[in-house]
């Protein structure tokens, strides 16, 4: 009775493994080293700030970031004054005022990042029918995280022989299906970094991926720090409990 069942299961397992290998080509993302990975990981402030610059000057032309506020930028090393300045560089619609009218005013640190389009229809109309997704959670909303965003931004190129790319679409070797509506957003020297870092496509993709990781997981550093303390505490507590347990049980064994 037992043997045939085992044989069946073994056969089924081998079959499952083989079909997994044969399934539609898996996209292998580039594996970059990210400073925020690992239990002691922290954000590379300089890279995140540069990434913010890339987002502000390039990505934000089409992509919103509704969950992040200007005030949050203090966490990545901007001073209060710098944050006020950054916020004040955009005009936001507020109101209604006492006369019942909406009005424009400079942004405040308490405002969320200003979205490029007033609504989804406007965003689609300006982008050939495609909707540029909100980037606040992009790092957590895609398999691969920062490797994925980095891959997409550096994966543009000529389609290989045999691959067809529809009208208005672009070839990207790391995008699922390889056809992406977003035209290549980065080009060498597209931004000028204040710290003198050379703004290559690779560098900008790396920096903006760092920034997107921070926008998705702004509490990561606190989480890692509290985590290490918690686990150390628990290890000591558990060791003590083990000692007490041994002592109490000594007579029973």
């Amino acid at each position: 009775m037992r043997r045939p069942v085992l044989a069946f299961l073994t056969a089924a397992l081998i079959g499952a493994g083989a079909s997994a290998a044969a399934r539609a080509e898996e996209i292998v993302l580039p594996q970059k080293h990210w400073s925020f990975e690992g239990i002691f990981g922290t954000y590379d402030r300089a890279a995140v700030q540069r990434g913010f610059q890339v987002y502000k000057e390039i990505c934000s032309a089409c992509h919103s970031m509704n969950l992040v506020h200007y005030r949050d930028l203090q966490a990545i090393g901007f001073s209060e004054d710098q944050v006020k300045q950054i916020a004040a560089s955009v005009q936001v619609t507020d109101g209604p005022n006492d006369a019942g009218e909406m009005f424009e005013r400079p942004g405040k640190p308490s405002d969320p990042f200003k979205a490029p389009f007033p609504n989804e229809n406007a965003a689609r109309a300006a982008n050939n029918g495609a909707l540029p997704p909100d980037l606040s959670l992009m790092y957590k909303a895609r398999k691969g995280g920062a490797d994925y965003t980095y891959g997409i931004l550096t994966g543009y190129g000529e389609p290989p022989a045999g691959a067809t790319v529809a009208e208005g679409m672009n070839y990207d070797k790391y995008f699922p299906g390889h056809q992406i509506a977003m035209p290549p957003p980065l080009s060498d020297g597209a931004v000028t970094y204040a710290d003198g870092t050379k703004a290559t496509v690779d560098q900008m993709a790396f920096d903006v991926s760092n920034f997107l990781a921070w926008t998705a997981e702004p509490k990561l550093e606190a989480r890692h720090l509290i985590g290490v303390k918690t686990v150390l505490f628990l290890i000591v507590l558990t060791a003590l409990l083990y000692g007490v347990k041994r002592k109490i049980w000594a007579a029973v064994h």
């Binding site: 009775m1 037992r2 069942v5 085992l6 069946f8 299961l9 089924a12 397992l13 079959g15 499952a16 083989a18 079909s19 997994a20 044969a22 399934r23 239990i39 509704n66 969950l67 949050d72 997704p133 606040s136 959670l137 957590k140 909303a141 895609r142 398999k143 699922p176 998705a216 702004p218 509490k219 606190a222 989480r223 890692h224 509290i226 985590g227 290490v228 918690t230 686990v231 628990l234 290890i235 507590l237 558990t238 409990l241 083990y242 007490v244 347990k245 109490i248 049980w249 029973v252």
Partner: protein, 423 residues
Amino acid sequence: MTATTPPGFKNPIIRWIDHRLPMFTYMHHELHEYPTPKNLNYMWNFGSLAGFMLVAMIATGIILAMHYTPNAGLAFDSVEHIMRDVNYGWMLRYIHMNGATMFFIVVYIHIFRGLYYGSYKAPRELLWLLGVLIYLLMMATAFMGYVLPWGQMSFWGATVITNLFSAIPWVGEHIVTWLWGGFAVDNPTLNRFFSLHYLLPFIIVGVVILHIIALHRFGSNNPLGIDVKGKQDSIPFHPYYTVKDGFGLGVFLIFYACIVFFAPNLFGEPDNYIPANPLATPAEIVPEWYFLPYYAILRSIPNKLAGVIAMFGAIVLLALVPWLDRSPVKSARFRPVYRYFFWLLLGDCFLLGYCGAHPPEGWYVVAARLGALYYYLHFLVIFPLLALFERPLPLPRSISEPVLKGGGVAATAAARALPMEKA
């Protein structure tokens, strides 16, 4: 369960209260002197761990509910508000979100421990049934909780699972509309799921209390699966098992903390960080890992109604185990054949889970069908047949003197006599 001897509390306030409301006597009786077999191994830690998880989930959940907004237009952002703006909100949410995973890990080990050591056999059938009921309530609670963040997987998971009821002939469609509160998963669905997600844990608390009352009627089973014969076989619950459970809790919390603080999204789907969109179906709709074996059984049958019946039947079989397993020997230690089938069932559940996580195509379908077939065979054929054909090993005479020379002979004869009488 009435207190036999007053424990004689020294504190006059406690004595005053206890005289009028004997809750201290009750606690002393059930938690302190409650006699427990002295040979319980670490597999017996998971009941108290499950109790801990229930309390942890309710505590974090109540605080999360203070900041969460159950509205289809606001739910997603309110969860992100908790993650970003509420003090330690990220911690509460990650503890709660991963708490579901931890709760199910603990409960699955608890269930399989019961299966291995025959904890469901007379006189503990009702104890087992109450456990299955808790498990069902947990599944309903977890499912509705997963819907609350209103991400893509929340929305599409809710759509797929509620649609299962449409397989019921004649009234299925009406039931689904009634469940949704409309003609699609939408704001009314989210509202009622939130309400029920808050209610069900307290019903679980009630059933857990019944579970413990039923447990304390005959006490814990033990790794030998034989009855406690006298005082020499048992020890008071406190301090022996309180400290042992405390140590186990420490080990468990280290694991739990590592997930919460260092890999909080390990068990989650990235798609659930995309706001729900009724117009865009995710490439693959996958339930949470703890439902995957059932999902595999559901999809292994091409007919929708039959699939749904097979899936719910898998849980019903679990409830029927005390009557399907007729062997008089409880512990698999003394059941040389059952022991192997136990591991086979465990492996089968992993296989089903693996298939459930992958699209139903090619070999996954074949493997899932074989897995589902074995699951049913295990409960409906193997359990009853083993009772007839298995020759159990000699049972020790008592917990205190396991496998002494000569002591086993009489017990062996007794253990063998029963199956032969039946045959």
